[in-house]
């Protein structure tokens, strides 16, 4: 049977088994990634790396489950936890490493509500869990679970859901074992190498279709926080070199985060359905000097870098690729989500963000109101939020004229305004660069992001709410008190326009 057919069959097997698990990876004990499925750029490299590091430190056996969220051990942000389950090709038949050590690892990401903090150190962003054995030898490590979940920063929703999530990942393992056995896949090291080689070959062919060349771009996140990128497409490979970039001040990414953003940019630029595995990712080389924005040192906080920062990197990489291959060129997309957190006096916290618009291309206008780099569906409900928190949404709409104009206009960002009904504390942190999402080939730049607070005025409107009073434009990060009737507006950037607008 040819590698192409086996790859196809195996891919469909993973797609079916992981159909309800949008963020997952399947990795061999040798560190080869056979399948990665993600919703964010961070997922591309962090999921398999978490799995590898868990195996390396914990010697997982078939049916064991570990947990981790440490960004410096393969995680992304502290509110995203990764469960890693060990798996043998068949129950009780590991490939001969003495004990019943896992042949494969399944990694699944559990994304909880993120935090917005103004921390200087990672540990102030939440609880940090290095690779930790949680379910070993068929039993929950209750003492460890109790210790972990009693930490004040441990998310209460995770405490409730974790046993269920462990059950789910073990069910995935059983389904995979059964399906692999029924379909009689040979997943020996030699076969896997052949399969990944076939994927790498196809991916090189896809890259060969791009123009060859080199391009440079830079992006100033803030004072003394400049990113520099040189991108080279040649010999069926793409190199993203961040040499010369500054150390991070507000944005700090791990190497895996940067790699995922670059790989995601290339995949998006190729516009083809490309399966993610070690073979296809082998055409991407990332040079990210240690200690810079793109490869931060512990204990730098990563919450902003591994969210907005990923979009910044992916947009910069796309800008370079667009300069090299003009047939696929696309204008810049918005790079920030204007994340905020409101802490109410009852201890509840409300997190929200807005999607930027995407850049236009020669073929189509940019998309309104959805990030290019965030494939998760919004699952929030206005009704549910208003039931849970003392606030009222006044509008959730498209920000007028926020996309850059052009032959094809850039997409508009989202604009949200809500009014708080009780005293609260607002914390915000976003990428408020003077860089606006650039247009391409004569297309105009889009509007940049803004967060505004309107203090409650003394008069009431037709719905009994105070009409807006003083308007305050917020800087890139900070915190402030909110009073009843105050309004907060999150205005996402748009996407750049493509081509000069023709006069009619």
């Amino acid at each position: 049977m040819s590698e192409s057919l086996i790859n196809t069959r195996l891919y469909h097997l993973f797609e079916n088994i992981f159909a309800s698990t949008p963020r997952a990876a399947f990795v061999t004990s040798e560190g080869e990634h056979l399948y990665i499925r993600g919703e964010t750029l961070a997922d591309i490299a962090t999921l398999p790396t978490s799995a590898q590091i868990c195996l390396q430190y914990l010697q997982l056996e078939d049916g064991d489950v570990a947990i981790c969220n440490d960004p410096y051990s393969g995680g992304s942000i502290l509110s995203s936890f990764t469960l890693v389950a060990g798996m043998s090709a068949q129950p009780g038949s590991a490939r001969g490493k003495g004990k019943n050590l896992a042949d494969f690892l399944i990694a699944v990401k559990l994304a909880l509500k993120p935090r917005v903090t103004l921390s200087e150190k990672l540990d102030q962003e939440g609880i940090r869990i290095p690779p930790t054995p949680l379910y070993i030898g068929g039993q929950m490590n209750e003492a460890l679970f109790a210790a972990m979940s009693s930490h004040p920063d441990f998310p209460p929703e995770l405490k409730l859901s974790l046993p269920q999530e462990i059950k789910k990942i073990l069910e995935l393992r059983e389904r995979l074992q059964r399906a692999i056995a029924i379909s009689r896949f040979d997943l020996s090291r030699l076969e896997i190498k052949k399969l990944l080689r076939a994927s790498a070959q196809q991916m090189r062919e896809a890259v060969y279709e791009l123009a060859v060349g080199e391009a440079r771009a830079d992006f100033e996140i803030g004072p003394k926080e400049r990113l520099k990128l040189r991108t080279e497409v040649a010999d069926g490979k793409v190199v993203f070199d961040f040499s010369g970039s500054d150390p991070g001040v507000t944005h700090h990414l791990t190497f895996q985060g940067t790699f995922g953003a670059c790989a995601g940019a290339l995949l998006a630029f190729l516009r083809k359905p490309i399966p993610l595995n070690s073979g296809t990712l082998s055409v991407v080389e990332v040079i990210a000097p240690k200690g810079t924005i793109v490869n931060a040192n512990f204990p730098k906080p990563v919450a902003l870098g591994m969210t907005d920062g990923l979009d910044v990197i992916a947009n910069l990489a796309t800008q370079c690729l667009s300069a090299i291959d003009k047939t696929h060129a696309v204008a810049n997309s918005g790079s920030t989500h204007c994340a905020i957190e409101i802490r109410f006096n009852n201890g509840k916290r409300f997190y929200d963000r807005v999607h930027p618009g995407t850049g236009a291309s020669a073929k189509q206008a940019g998309l309104d109101g959805h990030s290019l780099w965030w494939r998760a569906q919004l699952r929030t409900s206005i009704e549910e939020i208003e039931r849970r928190h003392p606030l009222i949404y006044e509008s959730v709409t498209l920000r007028a004229n926020s996309g850059g104009s052009g032959m094809n206009d850039g997409g508009a960002g989202v604009a949200k305004t809500f009014r708080v009904l009780e005293e609260a504390h607002l914390v915000w942190s976003f990428t408020d660069s003077h860089h606006k999402p650039l247009g391409y080939g004569g297309g105009k730049a889009a509007l940049g992001p803004e967060i505004l607070v309107y203090r409650a005025g003394s008069e009431l409107g037709p719905d009994g709410a105070p009409i807006p009073g003083e308007k305050i434009k917020l800087p890139a990060r900070g915190e402030m008190k909110l009073h009843p009737g105050d309004r907060v507006s999150l205005l996402a950037p748009g996407g750049g326009g493509f081509g000069a607008k023709t006069q009619t």
Partner: protein, 434 residues
């Protein structure tokens, strides 16, 4: 007097007629454009004057999926006019710099905000102003819009504001559907979408219903129970309940049903409060096109051919589908309703096209191995999506074909054909008789 049941599915019409203890069944294929004529021809010689007919159909779902509905306005709480659109899934579902929202049965230009507000606990914070509504009425009339859907935040807690708007527009002659008419346990998006689709399908289905009424009246079948009373098109379908795990095998859909399955409708634009068919889709379905994938292996693409136009084995299409593959490899069982449409005209062309695809595989395997590989991949894919239960029964016009394929690749363990040829129309008849 005999009882007659009609089921208009996605691509087949089924008829069941009960006289005394005897039940006769019939299945014919049809196309939406000539549905009435196809139905008339199927009924001629099968039904008799004076029969009592009960009809059910899948057409409301097909209308949404194939975008056959007509323009509807959507009135929602001011400030949230784009909320439904902003929550649509994205296409394609892989990383791409060119993404779009999935198609929706609503135009952005026809979404209007109404200055009204309800608190999360159902307290009216602001009532809609009749003058604002009159302005909207004029705007819609200018645009020749006759159908309106209304979806206000927290109308599930208190429908007062929605009801005022519904009444206002009905009095002005509009056909109106509203979100509070659906299950209040659903959040705003499933309720809003349900109101929108009810409105979206109304014109098309009303026309189709009238055509069917005419056909039945012409045949003297005047005692009629047809779907769509009071413009309500989406409702639970108890005749689609099965006592065991069942896979319905049609040419352009494969669905699996579990006993007592919740009929939540997971549409391409999100979950709806309106009930669905109570089934999960299995992919690929037989009318999906055959193409080469990333590894240049023969596989199926996301595109499919329309049943009305037909695949190559019906002597029509130009690109091979999985149904053509089944035909070319001798796996297709020409059951009634399907046999009449098969044509030998394109048999050679199908094989030539499939052969051309197989050459790209690198010449390592012969074409039979390659076609066999595709059959195996398809069957494995189906099996992975089917429930893990003891026995699964296959029903529907392609059931013998699908079983053939499972047998061919050795994945038929626990899969059986239903004891008798299964007719949804017969299930309808049974329910009517109870």
């Amino acid at each position: 007097m005999s009882q007659l049941a009609i089921w208009i599915g996605r691509s087949f019409i089924e008829l069941s007629r009960k006289t005394g203890a005897e039940i006769r069944n019939k299945r014919v294929s049809y196309s939406i454009n000539s549905m009435a004529a196809n139905l008339k021809s199927a009924l001629t010689g099968f039904a008799e004057e004076g029969d009592h007919v009960t009809m059910e159909w899948q057409l409301p779902y097909v209308t949404v999926e194939r975008q056959l509905g007509s323009a509807t306005a959507f009135l929602t709480t001011a400030g949230t006019e784009h909320w439904l659109e902003l929550n649509l899934p994205l296409v394609p579902n892989h990383w791409s710099t060119q993404i779009e929202y999935a198609p929706m049965p609503l135009s952005r230009d026809l979404c209007f905000g109404v200055a009204e507000r309800m608190s999360p606990h159902g307290k009216v914070l602001r009532s809609p102003d009749p003058a604002d509504l009159d302005f909207l009425v004029e705007k819609l009339r200018m645009n020749k819009i006759t159908h309106v859907a209304v979806g206000f935040l927290h109308a599930n807690k208190n429908p007062e504001n929605e009801q005022k708007v519904v009444q206002h527009f009905r009095e002005k002659g509009f056909v109106v559907s509203a979100s509070h008419e659906w299950d209040a346990n659903f959040e705003e998006r499933p309720r809003f979408w349900s109101a929108v689709i009810e409105s979206y399908v109304d014109s098309f289905l009303t026309e189709k219903r009238q055509e069917i009424e005419t056909v039945l009246n012409d045949l003297g079948i005047t005692t009629q129970k047809l779907p769509g009373e009071n413009h309500k098109w989406f409702k639970a379908m108890p005749f689609l309940q099965f006592s065991q795990a069942t896979v319905y095998c049609g040419p352009d859909e494969m669905l699996w049903y579990m006993p007592n399955q919740n009929p939540v409708w997971k549409s391409t634009f999100g979950v709806l409060a309106a009930p669905g068919l109570g089934a999960e889709k299995i992919t690929p379905h037989p009318l999906q096109l055959v193409d080469r994938n990333f590894w240049k292996s023969l596989a199926w693409s996301d595109s499919s051919v329309d049943w009305d136009l037909g695949p190559m084995c019906f002597g029509k299409g130009l690109k091979p589908t999985l149904l053509d593959l089944f035909h070319a490899t001798g796996k297709l069982v020409p059951t009634p309703g399907l046999a009449e449409r098969l044509s030998d005209k394109n048999s050679k062309k199908i094989m030539d096209t499939l052969r051309a695809y197989t050459r790209v595989d690198g010449g390592h395997r012969n074409e039979n191995d390659i076609l066999d590989g595709l059959l195996r991949t398809v069957a494995e894919n189906w099996r992975l999506q089917m429930p893990h239960v003891g026995t699964i029964q296959l029903v529907g016009p392609l059931a013998p074909t699908i079983l053939n394929i499972f047998k061919h690749v050795g994945l038929d363990h626990g899969i059986t054909l239903a004891n008798e040829d299964f007719y949804i129309s017969e299930n309808i008849l049974r329910l009517v008789s109870q």
